[in-house]
Symmetry: D2
Subunit: 238 residues, 4 copies
């Protein structure tokens, strides 16, 4: 089951909206009509300045809504810990999970013996679930379901919350599945708001700084030696 | 100075977005493509059901951004107490307020003597501000500025937060200026999401219940006698 | 594995603290010293009034921290959806789960065949986990772990957030495990702040109103016929 | 009117509480009893490690409640923009402000002419307020009141939110009044949780980094030359 991430809705003209809000703070011009009064180049330059100074509050005015599927309940349990966000998730209490799909971690997929053991365990869980779901409520049968079970979500975050999310979850030390999600989400939002998200990512990419101490992957050093932000940022192939 | 409220950005197709998120929770269909799969009538019926049962979390996926001007700092201080929201506001620390505009409460406007006293006080404050701003930083001169001083904001709330805002601030017991703002904001969002906001308002309008105890205006009783929600809701003329 | 809930820390004198904050709003007295100036009876009377009028914001000044164990990951995934709260949770990425404990739903415990099937499935998962954890990282082996797997959390909520939590999760229609948790948490806080939490619970108990529509358990009707709030509230034996 | 800040309530043993929550994440020990099992030295060492790695979430379990008076409405309008916090504030709608106190910015106090002008303006506002409050509701008369008018608040923040507050508001570029408040609040919490707040402050103090760009005061450079965190941090005399 492949992870799918689709940006299903977002604030139109996110960069113009953010720039108008930022401009308002320092201007005696009216709020009404301010968005139209900014050129694209002015908006871009204002946004770059905001982000370099860490003045992120105006970026909250742009929101992004993602449809996500092909992810595990292990991932969703981590994801929903980000509290400045809105979630709707497929309920295991109400939806029939007789044929639940599941996620396979790459480390397991790479070892035939491990993979066979994993697939067999999943098959047995499906069977046990079907039997239980016949005699107890679905909401109780689901206690059998594994972290691997596939779930679907709709998730909305504003740009500031996404900045925080990308900073933590695009890091190479993040858990692989949520990192894959974060990289896909970042790709989606960069398509529609390239300036706004140009510098969204872990602090190694954006500032040449790593906070992981002894666990650091060493990338901050590499980035510093090439010049901060000269690096395009990680993708899944990296 | 008249209050102006303009909806400058919002999640496109807010009702379809909310309905798709709600549907996901109870369906084994994919999240991707779900929005397109719903007809307008299905979306409307789902939203009505959600709201009548108080299941408001899917409504968080729709966000609304307002440009607001012609309001007082008395209002903005109250407004920003709503924490599930994003604000950008004209700064009195940086913007020159030599000719600040100001708001006149209707109770003052209605009494010529009071109005004259009020206008004179404002004129004197402007003069004192100009003098002070010449010898101390603007951020200190502004200590003179009155609550009445006009401010401008960009404000973003999601639909759930707006529900809460309209419940509290469209109430006849709310302070007149923030109530005027709430009614204008409600008018704006009802234009683009009529089903979503049909039942947004104080509990007297929506449930025939009043929580104000001895301070109740009596409207809940009226509404109950006519049938809850049969009432179109207050407007400023009411 | 039995559920354990312990209140490990909370704002001292929670009721006096809340009452002092509430009193401040309507008084020209100083904030400093206000707490000491209130008698217990005054604090109690003020709190009752706040809650009956739904003015809950002063109750946010009292926070409560719980140690929770003997609960499932099914529960914790639901719990952390409450966003106005703080959580620390045992990590399955780092902690060895070779001998994971698990929760048994009562509907399964009540049927010997179902229970046997369930216990056997758990035993097989333990074995599969042990094998996998030998050849892949723990954070990947845990994809096998079931929703039933026991977890431990420290959770902090303020009184207002607890009000919302108890309203939703003490309801008879809530999922049984999180309802058990909510009832235990309510018992704990009522011990140290009886006035503050006297009326915390589902709207049937507190207002004689049910929002569940066709799914209502009928309790609101019972409560209304006896008089709202005359009812002591549900416990797990009910 | 002098600013007064008093810590009126806080989570008992804040450092032990935070350390227990942090320890839980990486341990198979029970949550119940964990707090007692940690020595003070272990708690301190764990907290230092958390903070140096930026893992601040366990610090949310400790909350701090302040009574604040002798501050201006200019300050309170800024303060309540911090949304991860709880506030109760003296209401100008209900409280009689006939003899309102007011704050004098130091830049004004330092210039006799400016001060005289300022005091005279305040005197005239008091008089105008008294007249207006006789003929219109208090909530409308208050439109005259200046930003300088004294207000009182009760404010609760958890340690993580305080970290953010101190980072922004202890900075020398912050507005003088809110900076004075932040320094006083920091002094209060350092008294009861010295390890937890040892490194709370602007990024120049804690990391030798400044984000203010061309507006930097130069302190980050000084701190770097002496070694990060060797500096005790600013106080108002600095």
């Amino acid at each position: 089951m492949d992870m799918k991430v689709e940006l299903i809705a977002y604030t139109p003209e996110p960069e113009a909206t953010v720039a108008a809000a930022a401009r308002l703070c320092y201007s005696s011009r009216g709020a009404v009509g301010l968005k139209e009064a900014l050129t694209d180049a002015e908006a871009a330059s204002l946004i770059k300045r905001l982000i370099s100074m860490g003045h992120l509050s105006p970026t909250e005015h742009a929101s992004f809504t993602f449809a996500i599927e092909g992810v595990s309940r292990a991932l969703s349990h981590q994801l929903v810990r980000h509290r400045i966000a809105s979630y709707s998730q497929k309920s295991q209490r109400y939806v029939d999970e007789n044929n639940f799909s599941y996620i396979v971690p790459p480390s397991i997929a790479a070892q035939p013996d491990a993979l066979e053991l994993y697939r067999k365990a999943m098959e047995e869980l499906r069977e046990a679930y079907r039997k239980l779901a016949g005699v107890v409520p679905r909401e109780d049968a689901r206690y059998l379901l594994p972290n691997a079970a596939e779930t679907k979500l709709v998730c909305t975050m504003n740009a500031r919350s996404l900045y925080n999310f990308f900073r933590l979850r695009c890091c190479r030390r993040a858990q692989w599945e949520i990192r894959e999600l974060a990289l896909k989400m970042r790709e989606e939002v960069r398509r529609v708001a390239p300036v706004l998200f140009a510098l969204a990512g872990p602090s190694c990419e954006t500032e040449g700084i790593c906070w992981e101490g002894e666990f650091s992957c060493g990338r901050a050093r590499e980035v510093r030696s090439r010049g901060v932000a000269a690096d395009g940022g990680d993708d899944l192939g990296a």
